[in-house]
């Protein structure tokens, strides 16, 4: 699936991924290939991009939203910093 992370200041990430872990407002969840359409609010926390089954990179994000539609996840956050 495709993942895009957008902030007001720049496009932070764009590319094919295996999945993504998100800090939902009601708890952590994961979006994988062929997820049903979803709109969810995100809390401030850690976002984990799973590039493949065993390769991941993390971002610390401010609150925001995620929309999943047609196998494409768009993450809108007000600020994000790459960890490690």
């Amino acid at each position: 699936m495709t993942l895009e992370i957008l902030t007001p200041e720049k496009k932070l990430y764009s590319g094919e991924v295996y999945g993504v872990q998100l800090p939902g407002i009601n708890g952590l969840f994961e979006v994988l290939e062929k997820h049903a359409p979803l709109v969810s609010a995100l809390a401030k926390g850690k976002l984990k991009v799973l590039k493949s089954r065993n390769e991941a990179s993390s971002y610390s994000i401010e609150s925001g939203f995620v929309e999943v539609l047609d196998n494409k996840a768009t993450v809108l956050v007000e600020g994000a910093v790459a960890l490690d």
Binding site: P37, L38, S40, E67
Partner: protein, 293 residues
């Protein structure tokens, strides 16, 4: 004669110096303008997606949505967020923003103004100086935002305005700024910030069967402040680009003017020089003639 020559030479020198400065300022503004435009382009996908999300949700909601930030009240207390620049020498840019702000107050909020219920929050030093001098109720909390232009600082201002609106400190909030069209044109305008204008339901919006988490109403409640943050951020970025555009054109004109001046001065310099040579020659010739005679 020689005195006049020196005078003209001095003026030419001083104009050349000024021209060097205006040329340099133009170059600097051009570079800053490009960066400011980049920032606008960078934020566009985010803003568009946010709007799209909102209309997606609104189209999936039946009936009206109650949001506190969209509450229409009788307008008694008004807040104007006026965005100008920190520095001058940008043509009529700052003066025009201030003029727009004043004319809006006079046209729409005259009654509130009389009761002293119009507050102004300034972003940018120039507008703050000018409006404070004219006796408006200004606040300088966010005056220095341009010193370190970041989304976070704009967000703080937007949130403060939202909080004040929710607490009933203001019944309407407007942003006065200059929209960026291109380097030579700015559109000075006021934009309604709060209460939020009604979101129209878009027919034919993506009617996918979305899972909403949390419920749609709560989602909209979360989404609205984000949209407002972006709206103010966009206004600030536009104002920033406008400032550099205005300065660039102003400095370009100043350099042109300097060229014109130099041209006429050079002519009068040459004329004076020629006149001095002619008189000198006449003196020598007549001196020689007197000796021979």
């Amino acid at each position: 004669m020689a005195g006049q020559l020196k005078e003209v030479r001095n003026r030419i020198k001083s104009i050349q110096n000024t021209q060097q400065i205006t040329k340099a300022m133009k170059m600097v503004s051009a570079a800053k303008l490009r960066r400011a435009q980049d920032a606008i382009i960078q934020m566009r996908p985010y803003a568009q997606k946010l709007q799209e999300m909102l209309s997606n949700i609104v189209s999936n909601v039946e009936g009206d949505i109650n949001i506190k930030l969209a509450e229409q009240r009788t307008i008694e207390k008004v807040l104007l967020i006026v965005i100008t620049s920190d520095r001058g020498l940008a043509g009529a840019y700052n003066a025009n923003v201030v003029k727009t702000a004043k004319s809006i107050i006079a046209a729409r909020y005259a009654a509130q103004m009389q009761k002293g219920n119009v507050a102004v929050w300034n972003i940018g030093k120039k507008g703050w100086e000018s409006l404070t001098r004219s006796g408006y109720k200004t606040s300088d909390t966010f005056k220095d935002l341009f010193l370190n232009l970041k989304f976070e600082s704009v967000q703080a201002a937007a949130q403060a305005a939202m909080k004040a609106f929710e607490n009933g400190e203001f019944d309407a909030v407007e942003i006065v700024y200059s929209e960026f069209k291109n380097a030579a044109t700015q559109v000075f305008r006021a934009e309604q910030f709060l209460p939020i204008p009604k979101v129209a339901k878009k027919e034919g919006a993506k009617k996918a069967d979305f899972i909403f988490e949390p419920a749609k109403e709560e989602l909209i409640g979360e989404l609205m402040p984000k949209i407002l943050n972006t709206q103010l951020y966009k206004a600030v970025l536009d104002a920033n680009a406008s400032e550099h555009g205005a300065r660039m054109t102003a400095m370009d004109k100043a350099s042109d003017n300097a060229n014109e001046l130099l041209k006429t001065l050079k002519i009068s310099y040459n004329r004076a020089r020629q006149a001095a040579i002619t008189t000198e020659l006449t003196e020598i010739v007549s001196g020689a003639a007197a000796l021979q005679g």
